[in-house]
């Protein structure tokens, strides 16, 4: 029987649908019809341009720099007049891009020594704000509740526009910000949206707050099982043959007589994003925009970029008002702000008194 093309197509579609529905309850369903694996996310743009050494004189080079500066707007750190939002618990504000600059010991007033990491908040500026409806994540998860948070795009570390591609510079066109080297997304409540061009400094955070720090761990390359998973290895002597740092047994026998997926084996270690939760801010240096955060195991090497935001740990969230949506400035702040329990180096020596 000769059927119309549209009906054939529809029949085929129904059959395909029935096949997919019947396969819903199959094990390893994600392997049957895998979603396409994109090499780059949808928002990816090529960043660096092939640089040519232009045969310009030094005067002309300086003139070009001035032109670039004039085209871009000044950094606005004043509060926009129509922005009148008051903080209430449950709202999420932006994070900040920072650089890990080193580790330093500090002492508390009870004589205890703590290790603090210095995180320098770079020259962050807001580049774009995506409303919850317009934000399109690179891998949309099916069956999720619609996104209630907006997305703020922040940039840090001013760069030379001549080094970047036109596509990359196009990201900064609307905001008028000079193209930045680092970009980052932070999810915010719609109340905490900021206008493009707003700058964010270290005073966005308060001393005594708890933060989460996300960084890229040090790349350790291909590592064995002892370093990667903390296995104990085998004795160095007493007749042990050719097995000192190996993993030993990798599975049992019987019905499930195979190596289970996820078995710990040697492999590439490091170069992954890891988040350290609920780190306390002990001190803020306003001159260099540095946060002193507890802990010496922040992911990443010294001079690497980290992303800081208010902690998600329920017991350590701030209960008092914080600069919302961000710190606007205008007040006289001391060069260093210390936590109450921290001993300042300028104070006299600690003396333990009798109770």
């Amino acid at each position: 029987m000769a059927l119309a093309l549209s009906t054939t197509v529809k029949l085929l579609e129904d059959k395909l649908l029935s096949l997919t529905i019947s396969c819903m309850s199959v094990r390893e369903r994600h392997k049957l019809n895998p979603p396409p694996k994109l090499r780059n996310p949808t928002w990816f743009t090529q960043k660096n341009r092939v640089s040519f050494t232009d045969p310009l004189t030094t005067e002309n080079q300086e003139f070009l720099k001035e032109v670039v500066q004039d085209q871009c707007n000044n950094i606005s750190s004043e509060k926009p007049k129509d922005l009148d939002v008051v903080w209430r618990p449950g709202l999420q504000r932006t994070g900040v891009i920072a650089r890990k600059i080193g580790i330093y010991p500090m002492w508390l007033k009870n004589g205890k020594k703590i290790s603090t990491t210095l995180l320098q908040v770079l020259d962050n500026q807001v580049i774009k704000y995506y409303t919850p409806e317009s934000y399109n994540p690179p891998r949309p998860r099916a069956g999720r509740v619609s996104n209630r948070k907006g997305c703020l795009l922040l940039g840090a570390e001013q760069g030379d526009p001549s080094e970047f591609t036109r596509e990359y510079c196009g990201i900064f066109k609307d905001s008028g910000v000079i193209p930045k080297k680092t970009l980052a997304r932070f999810f915010v409540s719609p109340d905490a949206a900021l206008p493009p061009g707003t700058s964010i400094s270290a005073l966005h955070f308060c001393v005594g707050n708890y933060v989460d720090v996300r960084g890229l761990t040090i790349d350790r390359g291909f590592q064995g099982v002892m370093k990667r998973h903390g296995f104990k290895g085998m004795p160095a002597s007493h007749g042990v043959t050719k097995t000192h740092r190996r993993g030993g047994n990798i599975g049992g026998g019987g019905e499930k007589g195979r190596v289970w997926p996820g078995t710990k084996m040697p492999g590439h270690m490091g170069n992954r994003y890891r988040i350290l939760r609920a780190l306390k801010i002990w001190r803020i240096n306003t001159k260099y925009n540095v946060l002193y955060v507890s802990g010496q195991n922040i992911p990443g090497a010294t001079n690497s970029i980290v992303y800081i935001y208010d902690t998600k740990v329920v017991t350590k969230r701030h209960t008092e008002p914080v600069p919302f949506p961000t710190y606007w400035g205008g007040e006289e702040v001391p060069e260093n702000i210390y936590d109450k329990e921290l001993h300042e180096f300028g104070e006299p020596s600690i003396v333990f008194k009798e109770q």
Partner: protein, 289 residues
Amino acid sequence: MLKTGAHRPCFALIRHFKALRRLSTAAPEPSEQTRQKYEAARKSVTDLRRIYPEFLPDPKIEFRNPIREKLERSDMIARRANIEIPEFYVGSILAVTLSDPHTPGKFNRFVGICIKREGCGLRSTFILRNVIDHQGIEILYELYDPTIKSIEVLRLEKRLDGELLYLRDALPEYSTFDPNMEVEILPEGAPVPVNDIKVKLKPRPWVDRWERKHLKGVQDLELPQRFYDKAKEVDTPWEKYDLMKQYMRTIPEEEQHEIFSELQTHLHKSGVTQKVKRKRTFVKPTKLA
């Protein structure tokens, strides 16, 4: 050892390295006046490098960051404004008084010879050793610990070695110092005296292989020849000629100059000068180690 710049490359090499760093701009030849000025500045830097070795940061390039070093230095100077951390070397006898959290209200005083000095910045530490009631005791102190009430130098002197860890294997008389010792004051402007005492070690077993360490402050070890042969096999005499290694382990001279000039301005501001106590004449010590 190399970190404090004890084996700096000579002036010609410094200029060579400076040229390497600034390839694009060729600096003109310095005139005689500027050279003299540079020499004078360099001498003051050399002095301060010996007195305040913890101000030099860790030379490993991966850990260096100019802003963190600046902040660390300002904190160190702020601490020094509260307590006088004096000039001392390995081999000097110090008295440290600190507030003990385990005995509130009382201060603990410990007198000992400095056998090791380590660390840079706020982490710098030193170990004091003394023998009390026939028991050898060593305590590690952090220079910038806020519970320390005072650090006094009872006898300022240097020894022939950079570390005196061999005192653990030496006869106890070389590590015994009177806890009630008085301050021995040197005449102003005098160079730091070098004590060239040769210590006698106890018979083996020892804590470490002292025959491999090229110690100058020890008497003849009186070991069988096979120990010295093995030490020669294991020795690395070429290391002192490795200029690149030395260069990587030292802070460049321009940066040292910056660091110590910053320190000097702060010291002048706060009125703390290096040699404050050496005003009275030399008093012969009554009790010796």
